[in-house]
Amino acid sequence: MEQFVPIKRSKDGQPVRYLIVDDSVFARKNLGRIIETFGGQVAGEAGDGLTAITEYERIKPDIVLMDITMPQMEGIEAAEKIVQQNPDARVVMVSSVGYQENIVAALQRGARHFVQKPVKPEVLYEVIKYVLGEDGALVSAAGAGA
């Protein structure tokens, strides 16, 4: 799998911590592998929206990658609840159901961005950089630990 220049947290140089929310274990593992190529760390996983809310409060990740179609509570509703409680939360929707209506609804209810499945690592990488903004820093291997 392709490797990317690691994205670290600007404030402390630590890996960006992710919460991955998807009802498919297979999809979560795949996203986890992609995140590792970005130098990130999977801080937690959830298989539905309700668990995602609990997990967010527990681990306070830097970024949430959130599926839409899930049992119990769908991703857009979960994103809204997380952002209501945590206005600084960065939620990126990652879903195959990428039609205009869904994308607009997700953004209106607090999501920062939308990535269509199947996920292209280079697309997700650019989205992560954009969503982190100044809170993320690219750290080349030569500069690691500096």
Binding site: F26, T69, S96, V97, G98, Y99, Q100, E101, K117
Partner: protein, 161 residues
């Protein structure tokens, strides 16, 4: 079943499989089916409700599913039951989600339900209104079968009146 409903699913399967497998696929056999669905391997079913309703089944031989999963993951994965089932469900989710996105942008509104494993050997018999189309996608990892039975919801309501 109208071709306008089917084409987005063919396009989505082509896009998702070609990208995931990093090789082109060919649409092979195509047949209409009114008999009860007979599972070929590991199958996932996704229900749709709304302006268009029905279901789509994805069906792969376990070995094919493991190969497809390995391609999608970008690393060699063992052929375990859980993994194979998960891969088929996620494949169904991605193809159907992409197709639904196209149909939604054309003005159809509906809800996609999470994929479920289709575990029984036989499925429900198709009716005249929900005649199923069975497509076989030939890939380098083996055949991927997609069984589509969809109808316009207003027709369904009228038929039941």
């Amino acid at each position: 079943m109208k071709m306008e409903l089917i084409q987005p699913f063919i396009n989505a399967a082509d896009a998702v499989l070609s990208q995931g497998l990093k090789s082109p696929m060919v649409v092979g056999n195509l047949a209409m089916e009114r008999e009860a669905y007979r599972r070929k391997g590991v199958a996932a079913v996704v229900q749709l409700t709304g302006d268009i309703e029905g279901r789509v089944i994805f069906d792969l031989a376990p070995k094919t599913a493991a190969e497809v999963a390995s391609h999608f993951a970008g690393t060699e994965l063992p052929e375990t039951d859980d993994l194979v089932r998960e891969a088929v469900c996620e494949l169904a989710n991605q193809v159907i989600g992409n197709a639904v996105a196209t149909l939604n942008d054309q003005g159809f509104h509906f809800r996609v339900h999470p994929p479920e494993l289709h575990t029984s050997d036989d499925g429900p018999t198709s009716t005249e209104d929900t005649e199923a189309l069975v497509l076989c996608f030939e890939t380098a990892s083996g055949n991927v079968f997609m069984n589509i039975a969809l109808r316009y919801a207003h027709k369904a309501a009228a038929a039941g009146a």
